[in-house]
């Protein structure tokens, strides 16, 4: 059963990525002028000689399927072309920045999963004031966008308290972590609140379920019930929503990197979009969509696998 599901999801993923890559490459030809001007970047009119050179280099005069195929196979080989506005190969630009972005996303994901689930469990199991505090705070935090959170954290923790640096990427591991703390918090905040709410709801649903009541009536210790009967069964929705959150971090990371002046892939995407340097934008957009779709598919498969182990009729 699960194998068939995995195959079906993988096929859907392949089709999605194929169509997405056609759309991303095709964007080049949507613009009213010569597509080559978008590969020069800078938004200004380049010399005819340079344009002819770009036409030759990117095979723009070939039919669309042929030039698309060259582009796609180039991407798969790790050759994403040249950025003329950065005077560098796209792969090199990407390689210099991907570490910062991955560290940022991993940091934020860690915060979301640990504190989100812990706060949700606290609210559901302790109840009373803990429940009220977590519910009110998470409702508020869910409405605070990443860039406003970035401003609030910079003002509070970097300017007023001076605990963390406000800007830049830092060098060396501990310095980088210190520079990434506020960005990771800004990125994580609203998703953390969301995961806390979903965890709370999932655990509360298990608390009143029949199998937990049965376990209680059999005299099993409460701590064991919480571990073996409640948390294990509440895992499926929590894993699924945590995965959605991590996928969401990919899109949000560009805003955070821009806000905190981090030298990452997301900031590069935004800056090259502003310069209309399409060689960079296409490569990064493809990378983002691939990562987004891969995580979403992995989460679907994982939660299906978790669900599979549940007894029939067990609540989700």
């Amino acid at each position: 059963m699960i194998a068939r599901f995995v195959v079906r999801r993988a096929a859907a993923l392949a089709v999605t990525l194929l169509i997405a890559s056609v759309a991303i490459y095709g964007a080049l030809f949507l613009s009213p002028g010569d597509p080559a001007t978008l590969l020069v970047g800078g938004g200004k009119e380049p010399s005819p000689r340079l344009l002819a050179e770009i036409h030759r280099q990117y095979h723009l005069d070939e039919p669309f399927p042929a030039s698309y195929w060259r582009w796609l196979t180039g991407m798969l080989r790790g050759d994403a072309g040249q950025s003329l506005s950065y005077q560098d190969s796209v792969t090199h630009l990407l390689g210099a920045r991907i570490g910062n972005t991955l560290l940022l996303i991993a940091y934020a994901a860690l915060l979301i999963v640990t504190f989100g689930v812990a706060l949700g469990a606290l609210a559901a199991l302790r109840g009373e004031w803990a429940d009220t505090v977590v519910t009110v705070l998470s409702t508020t935090f869910m409405a605070v966008p990443v860039f406003v959170m970035a401003v609030l954290l910079t003002w509070g923790f970097a300017v007023r308290l001076g605990w963390f640096p406000a800007y830049g990427s830092g060098t060396g591991f501990t310095d980088r972590l210190e520079h990434l703390t506020l960005p990771a918090l800004a990125l994580a905040a609203s998703w953390l609140a969301y995961v806390a709410q979903v965890s709370r709801a999932a655990i509360r649903a298990e608390l009143v379920s029949e199998h937990v009541q049965t376990a209680r009536s059999r005299g099993i210790k409460e701590s064991r019930i919480v571990r073996k009967h409640i948390l294990r069964n509440a895992a499926a929705p929590i894993v699924s929503v945590s995965g959605v959150a991590v996928a969401g971090l990919i899109a949000g990371s560009s805003i955070v990197e821009q806000a905190f002046g981090l030298n990452g892939v997301g900031a590069l995407l935004i800056q090259s979009a502003a310069k209309q340097d399409l060689a960079v934008v296409q490569a990064l957009a493809l990378l983002t969509v691939v990562a987004f779709a891969l995580i979403n598919t992995a989460v679907d498969v994982l939660s299906a696998a978790l669900d599979h182990r549940l007894p029939p009729g067990g609540s989700r």
């Binding site: 859907a12 999605t16 169509i19 997405a20 991303i24 964007a27 080049l28 949507l30 613009s31 978008l38 938004g43 009220t132 519910t135 009110v136 409702t139 508020t140 869910m142 409405a143 605070v144 966008p145 990443v146 860039f147 406003v148 401003v151 609030l152 910079t154 003002w155 970097a158 300017v159 406000a166 800007y167 969401g248 990919i250 899109a251 560009s254 805003i255 821009q258 806000a259 995407l269 935004i270 090259s272 979009a273 502003a274 209309q276 340097d277 399409l278 934008v281 296409q282 957009a285 983002t288 969509v289 987004f292 779709a293 979403n296």
Partner: protein
């Protein structure tokens, strides 16, 4: 939730109908709706309300705190922050409104036609919606800005596409359920055309759901538009817009002048919370469910 419940009850003597509505737990949606309405009114009447021209630079009053002349202070070029917040409400609300309207109309049309016609058309529409759903909206907008140049217009077009599935997927499954109800086949037996059944009977019954989805989406599109302007690809200076104001004020934060960013950020957050609460209130009222 309880933090908001006390707000409208403090209004003193209210008409009887109003009191009954509050007693039925409508306090939160009414307060949220009032906030939304006030912000919309502020946007419409910005020229009457704003004490200054939003783009008037005053070199003698740069980066001031709040005072009698400038209630919320001035920005780094001496422009009045209150006036810019009021004028800024216009693009900040208009762009999300256009996106929600486009995505709502096109999404509903696609959803109802797909549910009604079924077959290969339905499969194509569903596959298209799934595809768009798998694309992060902001990335779509960034690619659009890279091709056509930065601006709010490109954000409206790309985000309309990105929000299409949020409305269409929900409406399609509701339309499928509705279509299976006996009254629809009865209307068919009476000889009504498919188009007439869709437009006169299915659509009115689906309207509450569309309204609820649109209200909630409005808050999120507003966040996306503001984020897009914040990163410099949406509204271009010197136009006043909330997301852009947060970005404009950012350098001032380190210098100890966080007012512009904080006020603009606060306005965004309050408005989005109001939209979300209004959406869930409408949902409870119109659809009888929590979401």
């Amino acid at each position: 939730m309880s933090a908001y419940q006390s707000v409208p009850a403090a209004g003193g003597r209210l008409p009887l109908g109003r009191v009954r509505a509050l007693a039925r737990g409508q306090g939160v949606p009414i307060a949220a709706g009032t906030v939304v309405a006030l912000v919309v009114l502020a946007a419409v009447f910005a020229p009457l309300l704003a004490p200054y021209d939003p783009n008037a630079v005053d070199p003698l009053a740069v980066s001031q705190g709040s005072s009698a002349a400038h209630w919320l202070g001035t920005d780094d070029t001496g422009r009045d922050i209150l006036s810019r917040l009021l004028y800024g409400a216009r693009p900040s609300l208009l762009a999300p409104a256009l996106i929600t309207l486009t995505a709502g109309l096109a999404g509903t049309a696609l959803a109802v036609s797909a549910a009604w016609l079924g077959g290969w058309y339905d499969r194509v529409v569903s596959a298209f919606l799934d595809l768009v759903f798998g694309f992060p909206g902001l990335v779509l907008a960034v690619v659009g800005a890279a091709v056509f140049g930065a601006g709010l217009d490109i954000a409206v077009i790309t985000l309309s596409l990105a929000y299409l599935p949020y409305i269409a997927r929900v409406v399609r499954s509701a339309a499928l359920r509705e279509r299976a109800l006996p009254y629809v086949s009865a209307l068919g037996l009476l000889g009504l055309s498919g188009r007439r059944i869709c437009l006169r009977h299915l659509l009115p019954n689906l309207l509450p759901l569309v309204l609820v989805q649109a209200t909630t989406s409005f808050g999120y599109t507003m966040l996306d538009v503001a984020a897009f302007s914040f990163i410099g690809l949406g509204t271009q200076p010197p136009t006043a817009e909330w997301g852009l104001m947060v970005a404009n004020g950012a350098p001032g934060i380190i210098a100890g002048q966080p007012e512009q960013s904080l006020y603009a950020g606060l306005v965004i957050v309050v408005f989005v919370i109001a939209c979300n609460l209004l959406g869930s209130g409408l949902s409870r009222r119109l659809l009888g469910e929590d979401r």
